[in-house]
Amino acid sequence: MTLRRAAAAACVVGVAIAAYLTYVHYSHTAPVCTTGGCETVQKSKYAELAGIPVALLGLVAYVVLLGLSLVRGVDAALVGVFVAAVGVAFSAYLLWAQLGPIGAICQWCIANDVTITVVAVLYVARMLTERPA
């Protein structure tokens, strides 16, 4: 129960970050930024995947993970591990893009990287300790 609550809390943070970046994308405004590179990252080709904003994909993933945190059982935990691992892997790819080809760092992306990693760790811990539903 504690792990599910912790995962839910982390997912809420993730939803907030992803929702803000999705809003910024569709409203064509510049994100609040202290690292100076947010707009460059936001305008880069890496900000979209097959025409879909990656922020929106992240928002959908966090909503799914939030929903799974409300469901008991090993099956829900396993699906959560998979979705969170996809999130971590994709975040790693985007971090590589920021450090390499783009050459700019977005603080919101870093905040998301930390959040999705925390969510993934919590889901793995949950998967290893969850009682069958």
Partner: protein, 239 residues
């Protein structure tokens, strides 16, 4: 029991990594590419957007005609581009904001636009609109606004309607811009740009040249169009 769950976790993580690799590779290969430019063979995806983004890139930066930046800047970066060129779009969307932020706003560089027709006749409509926007000192805003709407090469995407919409979004007087697009002044600008392109033996877009104060105009050789690749070449040329 414990061992089974560890295997399930490992399997889920491996599957997730495979899924991400496949998605990145498939999405990358589905991106727009072209063979009519001289840029490195990188791919780019079209991006939606509006003149609001263009305004935020250039907000507060002096613009006069085809020139972006302070007239007293220590060096001039000339950009030869075609509004239909996908690599030009990539550079303007991905890299120009960094160049503006780190070089133009700091007074190290001014950027001069040279529009040329490389892809096809529809480019002329775009170039006329861009140079007409220059008469309102909004050339760079208009240029970016058109790239944000870029369609397939020679599909006829640069229409009067699209130009009007882009002009309004960048805060230009759309009616004046349309009228100016066919003016002798804009025709003269196109000829001037064409002559400049011939002078450097231009054979593709985007092409960049750099000229330091009292120096010769020299072609800027870049390894790629992303910010890091471009600014590395720029830093070397400015030394």
């Amino acid at each position: 029991m414990e061992r089974n769950r560890l295997l399930l976790v490992a399997g889920a993580i491996v599957a997730a990594v495979v899924v991400v690799v496949v998605i990145v590779v498939v999405a990358g290969s589905g991106s727009k590419s072209t063979s009519t430019t001289t840029a490195p063979p990188v791919t780019t995806t079209g991006s939606g957007g509006s003149g609001t983004e263009a305004q935020s890139t250039f907000a507060g930066v002096p613009q006069h005609g085809d020139t972006l930046g302070k007239p007293t800047a220590g060096a001039t970066l000339a950009v030869y581009e075609d509004p239909q060129c996908p690599y030009c779009q990539q550079w303007n969307i991905d890299t120009l904001p960094t160049v503006v932020q780190n070089y133009v706003r700091t007074g190290r560089l001014k950027v001069v636009y040279h529009g040329v027709v490389i892809i096809g006749t529809n480019s002329v409509n775009g170039l006329r609109a861009i140079y007409a926007a220059g008469l309102q000192n909004k050339l760079w805003n208009m240029n970016e606004a058109l790239y944000e709407r870029q369609g397939d090469e020679n599909s006829g995407w640069i229409t009067i309607g699209l130009i009007k919409q882009a002009a309004r979004e960048v805060g230009a007087n759309a009616a004046k811009l349309i009228a100016d697009a066919d003016s002798a002044t804009v025709t003269k600008e196109l000829r001037r740009s064409e002559a400049a392109a011939e002078a450097i033996n231009l054979n593709g877009t985007p092409t960049f040249t750099i000229q330091k104060t009292l120096g010769q105009e020299q072609q800027l050789s870049v390894a790629g169009l992303e910010p890091n690749d471009f600014t590395s070449a720029l830093d070397a040329a400015l030394q």
